[in-house]
Symmetry: C2
């Protein structure tokens, strides 16, 4: 996160700049009044559906709770409706956001100094930061235009093994990844699963953005395609409910060996670790998220239709504006291009000049527009000529004006 | 925590037994209806006291938040009133319970393989568990009758140094510690602070139980006595507000060297770590705790008067019952004794026979009473003939009946 400091600092010095920086969800769809309604919905569920007494409800809201969470069955039900993932509630661990899920999963899986975590490059900084905190070595698999390439992954695995390392797991965001916005084709998903089986790898699938695409489109998750328990699914409610709850979950249905030699669910091993990190996920947060799941009849994808429409709208507006301001011939001649994701929060813009802190400073100061240098997401160099544009936190009008300002910067520096 | 499994298992097999096991707060004082009132109090504070707009309030409740927390100034104000600790809000990190506070503090302080964490023996399992998760070596300082003995601590430090280790910090619960219930005398507190200064140790002071004693009694915390910034204060709202919020905090006002060589607050280093563990503490939990602080005019000690009276009542009932059932002469002849803490949730009962899992099983099955073997809290053996009795989770009537059953067990096994 240290590299983000410059971005934060530029942002605070230029409060009137339009920022394509933050990957935060749009706030216009949140309603403060609903918190109480969601809490009530969960209380009603406990009393009316489950027959809990008022004293038991009180205990569930105020007391220490089950380490792996108290809403795991409701989450499992939602996951079945939304993703076709059929997870035993016992294999779910409800976590303090997806970040804690990544953290405890890494701690559970990586035991030997020779164990290596594979990540794409560029990569979400939350996973590399967690690995660093746990002194876990990461190996970086450069992404192609369609994201992670199984052939490159296989080569990386071979090289690691030749060097005496054990590639243990691959972290991957198949849908509209942060930071690039790429989406893995179905064929790649199948190949990844095959490779995981052949090479005895686990896949850590992180899926915060999957809902935010055109209705009826979207590809099955790796976990939904997985019939060999190769995938550990890292779930997040930050974008599909709201970030302030800090509720995420892990589906960890793998059978593993416990320290005493017995067979146990990976979820139970995660539980032991979670107990020493946060004891349990706050009951209040779980209650509010449960209330949302109940209110939306365990169908979050449908409930997120307005949000998906909003983000899709911003994405269209941004792509259309860029297209209009920088017509194909002109930009291609100058070496400017961008990808066109079909969903998510991000896109990648490539320049003929370095998209570095100096250009960011100039962009904020002279053009009133902010973005994130893609190099921030490359664990070992790369992305020097790219920027990440995030469209999730702006109104459509801001996106239009931001695109205009960005075109101004490009006119000045690249054209 | 693994050792606790047997206790949990016995408890589930004997649901009608009275349990002196759980160190949970009593639930009779919680009221579900108050959650909404506390949330409202915080919202009013944001709008009326701080002039925040409705949109800003929405952001503070729903969005990602400041890594170190958004209620740090309110917590600092409460700490000033309740403990006379004058903490700069910038030195506070609001955490997901005290457990996360311990975890990130250990991660920040322990860098070298030779660094050793000192803990008392017996010791709270949350700290030893967190250390184990981070592969931090612990050294155990056996407690005397008055808890931690500075002379024994000094000897342990000397021995560690002679062995090439660096004793880095001591974890200590000065007030009514879990598991023994002992309270460090004022003189010991001063000696600990002196020793920390001489030996260049940090003191990790954990204080969940300090309020639960007779009004007007109680000793100053180490942090309140500390004028050399030797103490990192680990705060908890689990017992003084409620556990389900999972809100704690760390006061980390030490100047430290950042990785880039600059001087910085330890709190800022903790922030970088926390960002990779949980991103930030849930806004909802912080809002409800803030509402409680506001409602009680930043005086939690006073607000906890009914709770303190309740726990004090249970403590008296337990000590009186044991005294009546096992008069001094009789118990001393048999080698049974117990300590008489002036507050807190716990006391230590010593037997002439092993207080082990076999006795616990017999106790639950034949006498309908459950307790925790003290050996569970000894990281490297010891406490074999002691039990921890927790009085926090029972009604006074249950304490009386539990003491009667316990006396029955002792009659049978020791007298």
């Amino acid at each position: 996160m240290e590299v983000m400091n410059f971005l934060n600092e530029v942002t605070s010095r230029h409060p009137d700049a339009i920022s394509f920086g933050p990957g935060r969800p749009y706030e216009g769809l949140f309603e403060v009044e609903r918190i109480g309604l969601y809490l009530d919905a969960y209380k009603r569920h406990l009393t009316e559906d489950l027959g809990r007494t008022p004293d038991e409800v009180r205990t569930m809201l105020f007391q220490y709770g089950r380490t792996n969470g108290q809403i795991h069955d409701l989450v499992a039900r939602t996951l079945r409706n939304d993703e076709g993932i059929d997870a035993d509630p016992a294999s779910l661990v409800v976590t303090v956001g997806c970040q804690e899920g990544m953290f405890i999963t890494l701690r559970a899986l990586f035991a030997e100094p020779s164990d290596v975590l594979l990540v794409s490059s560029p990569c979400y900084v939350g996973i590399t930061g967690a690995a660093r905190l746990l002194d876990i070595e990461t190996a970086h698999v450069p992404e192609g235009e369609n994201g992670l390439d199984p052939d490159v992954l296989r080569r990386t695995v071979d090289e690691l093994r030749a060097a005496g390392k054990r590639p243990r797991a691959l972290y991957v965001v198949p849908d509209f990844s942060n930071p690039t916005g790429t989406c893995l084709p179905l064929d790649t998903r199948h190949r990844l699963l095959g490779l995981a089986e052949e090479e005895d790898l686990l896949l850590l699938e992180d899926n915060p953005y999957g809902f935010f695409t055109r209705a009826g489109t979207g590809l099955p998750t790796l976990k939904a395609l997985d019939n060999r328990q190769r995938v550990i699914y890292l779930g997040s409610f930050a974008k599909t409910c709201f970030p302030g709850a800090r509720v995420g979950y892990v589906v960890a249905d793998q059978q593993v060996q416990a320290p005493d030699g017995s067979r146990t669910l990976l979820a139970d091993e995660l539980s032991k670790i979670k107990g020493m990190v946060t004891v349990n996920t706050p009951a209040l947060s779980q209650a509010v998220i449960a209330g949302m799941l109940l209110t939306h009849d365990f169908r979050l994808r449908e409930a997120n239709k307005p949000a998906a429409d909003f983000y899709q709208g911003n994405l269209s507006v941004l792509l259309d504006s860029l297209e209009r301001l920088l017509p194909r011939k002109r930009r291609e001649a100058a070496g400017i291009h961008w990808n066109s994701p079909e969903g998510g929060f991000f896109l990648t813009l490539t320049l003929p000049v370095p998209a570095d802190n100096a250009l960011l400073e100039e962009s904020a100061r002279d053009h009133g527009v902010i973005w994130t240098p893609m190099s921030y997401f490359h664990p070992d160099g790369g992305g020097t000529h790219q920027m990440r544009l995030s469209l999730s936190y702006l109104t459509p009008d801001q996106v239009i004006e931001g695109a205009r300002r960005l075109a101004g910067l490009l006119e000045r520096s690249c054209l």
